[in-house]
Symmetry: C2
Subunit: 316 residues, 2 copies
Amino acid sequence: MLPEREFIERVRRLVRRSKSSRVVRGIGDDCAVLQASAGLELLVTTDLCVEDVHFRRDWHPARSVGHRCLARGLSDIAAMGGDPAACFLSLAVPRGLSQRWIDEFVRGFLAMARRFRVPLAGGDTSSGPKIIADVVVLGTVPEGKAVLRSGARPGDLIYVTGKLGGAAAVLKSLKTGRKPGAATRGNFYPEPRVKVGGLIRQKQIATAMIDLSDGLSVDLAHICRESGVSAVIYAKKVPVARGATLEQALHGGEDYEVLFTARAGAKMPTKISGSPVTAIGRILPRSAKRAVVTLRDAVGKETPLKEQGWQHFARK
Amino acid sequence: MLPEREFIERVRRLVRRSKSSRVVRGIGDDCAVLQASAGLELLVTTDLCVEDVHFRRDWHPARSVGHRCLARGLSDIAAMGGDPAACFLSLAVPRGLSQRWIDEFVRGFLAMARRFRVPLAGGDTSSGPKIIADVVVLGTVPEGKAVLRSGARPGDLIYVTGKLGGAAAVLKSLKTGRKPGAATRGNFYPEPRVKVGGLIRQKQIATAMIDLSDGLSVDLAHICRESGVSAVIYAKKVPVARGATLEQALHGGEDYEVLFTARAGAKMPTKISGSPVTAIGRILPRSAKRAVVTLRDAVGKETPLKEQGWQHFARK
């Protein structure tokens, strides 16, 4: 199997011929952007959640799996500055899975749906070899106002909300055999930054935005590629979550905070809707001589920041 | 695992509280219908395709799997009388699946997408235990004009397009070990009735419509439940595909024709966009005394028509 980026590139090349004027922005951002009506665009995002890849039944309560499945899509809508409008759930489950598990999953999903006022409007079900949920979230955004990944320009500062690495730290402790406990809550019930993303869009704070689902190193590289720029991160500025390491903050995924870029002169609040905002680096011109993203340590030494994706929950 | 109908009922009950005015029609039709703009509604349909449930890698060429995945969603749009607008593909594949398989799958999918002018606008990828594709198709329909499942009234006649049972006949021959050959084409590359559905909606021919994906007995029962009516089918009127049996025409799925109901007095063309149209039965008032759907044989004897769903490709 190809790595996801390569796969997406391949599909993009194959897709190029079938472009349509209705698709404002297709593959390559947090959501697709479609023309809807005068003044409004439609956001669409789909997220696959596969047992033993994105969650493990022996670690994650069914309710948390339902919660997380929808959280991922809501986080994508947040990353465009959109308002969630409706969601769809396609669910494959192994024959013999307990009805209790399914009910708890659905409860976790629907509790989230109610809280974010995003009605479950449809879906599909099937038997399958493992639990597999594909969640679609639709959202809306005023025409031309979606915050894309492609707007970062050299000189822009790079910001993140919240603290990073918490989910990766929990994952590591689960891997070492620790029983899931209260501290795992952030990983089990992440809170998508829908309000934060909406405010960033309304106040026109950001030049580009993405949610931190795959990990800072990977997600910032997405911004750089889509914007045709490079970036430098200052190690000591990265807001590391309690109990996490810098490494986990840089590469651990599933924090569901947002990363955005803004003009260097822009006035930046210290908090947006209660979430702390931290400047962690700067956008640079693209250059063949430097890595897409580099990390500057405390003494000013720069090293390429490898795109180490999010650690799957795979058993091997 | 619950049968799909029961699962959907359960989710519906859980969902009821999260209803929203933006969702014109939620779970329980071929597509969800959402408010879009003045004069236009948005159709959304999602379809899961799971290896060894909906297809088998040793039977179906990768290109046919890609084709079928998208055909299912297009058929749902057709069944509402909508125009397809964009599609999304979430794809999980086992590690080690050949790149050739994936490329062929994507080619089959995109050939279909181009032909129906429905751009692939996004999606997701993951590793997984089997090949699993979840396809979302968005479409549009003039406001209030979607042909729902719920509009059938006692006295209406029941029509189907095309011939039925062909896909089931192919499936049966594959199960007996016959090598897939030219005759399997209809099952491998079904043609969704997008143009037919669109014309039925434009000409206001139908009171209710559904696509025949699960099988006539199941799909007609959906219409009856959503409309609060019963139905009788005349066995000798059912258009049986060459090589298929009446049984296969009644219960075999994946024909991707459309079934619709129309007022008894309505003038009905013999063909719509080249597809033959056949009257096969009549809508009756709902009564506790009769089955939801009954079958009347050649001598006028009526028996309840069991909802025998579509035969999964499961190996057991």
